[in-house]
Assembly symmetry: C2
Homo-oligomer: 250 residues x 2
């Protein structure tokens, strides 16, 4: 039987405890190899570094790091480091949720988008909650979902964005297949001053409102379920396309 | 009659000729205000700067710049600079196409995504082709589509990604409403060496293959049409959701 080959990456950097927990979890499923950024790349979204060369360092056997973004790591891993195409890509485990509209800022999810572009089944894992994070339960969930992804098909051109509630194993109520919710930040920009008294803005903080309903990722995690959201690469609003063709007479 | 208020941004920086052409074009439709990054932010995708404060500088009347990303510019403009919510957001004109999967790397499109999150009708403009770019025809196209967007509704939670072929006015064959194509890069990573002889990788170059068919953005532009692709914020693969619920028995 073919031994699965699994690429492990993240956006928090190669030394983050979340990726080490993920690597250990999936190592029992096949040959698992880490290719991850040197440093924290949170909120870089789907950035590609094209204005400078990137260096690959083999830190130890099967653990590589690149001075770039998660997307850089995946594309260089697939094209330059690996000899064979991975059977699975897993990204994370991110400390903190990646839910709703936040997905489009997420480096964790971006790595899985890049894997999906190469037709590799790709899973992004995030652990909801606040520091300190304990990745033990999340790693067990990752193991289970990674083994499912190796056994079953994913929908075409689609990754799974997985968020795990910060609960003990016995407290998790199960898995919900969800859609992406809508997150609305309020007052999420703080004002501050530099040493010369000039006003600056610092993005962050504020309160968060959710809209979307019971079948969303956010609601599932809030209710104690693991949310599994299929995210596809085709961003076209096909219904909107029909509307434009009918209504917008140019 | 209400005079429209239009927010103009881009990812190439406030001094780029593309944004100045766009600003001039839409100024005849209402009050147009630029809030754009200080510097080129190509391929930053949907990055938000959260690890440092950002400074807003008013360069001249109605032209502001921020030492951040396109997404930073939009969120700070809406929350801190503007007194009223814009009726329209236009982003660009980007020198070079933003087609197919490249959309997810594009700062030009990201700015329009951020505008859409705030329920502002948002258009991203890119001029296909190679340098030197002449924005005259593209600016006229932007004027026409911006006036349409002010007169008509956009599909909900949806921006329009607009690509203009590098042709003379009389050569453009019209407008096509399109879906997002699939771009496949081949050998798009070059190898190079640092002064100490260590191998580095540089992302870029290579050949590009397209798949997707006649109704895609890429094919429309290649055939001399302006492509208008409705891109929605909901990344959920709803068909995939049904598949998972039926097939993945956990």
């Amino acid at each position: 039987m073919h031994k699965p080959f699994i690429l492990v990456t993240n956006d928090d950097g190669v030394y983050a405890p979340g990726i080490r927990a993920l690597h250990e979890a999936v190592s029992s499923l096949g040959d698992a190899l880490i290719v991850a950024p040197e440093r924290d790349n949170s909120a870089v979204s789907h950035s590609l570094t094209m204005n400078r060369p990137l260096r690959v360092i083999e830190l130890e056997k099967n653990i590589y790091t690149i001075d770039g973004t998660p997307t850089d790591c995946v594309t260089i891993a697939i094209n330059k480091i690996l000899n064979t195409k991975p059977d699975l890509l897993v990204s994370g485990i991110n400390p903190g949720a990646n839910l709703g509209d936040d997905i489009s800022y997420s480096g964790t999810v971006s790595a899985a988008i890049e894997g999906t572009m190469y037709d590799i089944p790709s899973l992004a894992f995030s652990l909801a909650g606040n520091p300190p994070y304990d990745f033990e339960v999340a790693a067990a969930v990752a193991w289970k979902l990674a083994s499912m992804a190796l056994a079953m098909h994913l929908p075409p051109n689609t990754l799974l964005n997985i968020n795990i509630p910060p609960l003990k194993a016995g407290e998790i109520r199960g898995i919900r297949f969800t859609r992406q919710g809508r997150r609305i930040y309020q007052n999420a920009i703080q004002e501050t001053f530099d040493p010369w008294g000039r006003k600056h803005y610092w993005i962050g903080g504020g309160t968060v409102l959710w809209s979307g309903g019971d079948d969303t990722d956010e609601q599932a995690v809030r209710n104690g379920y693991i949310s599994v959201t299929p995210i596809h690469l085709d961003l076209t609003n096909h219904g909107g396309l029909e509307y434009l063709e009918q209504q917008w007479k140019m």
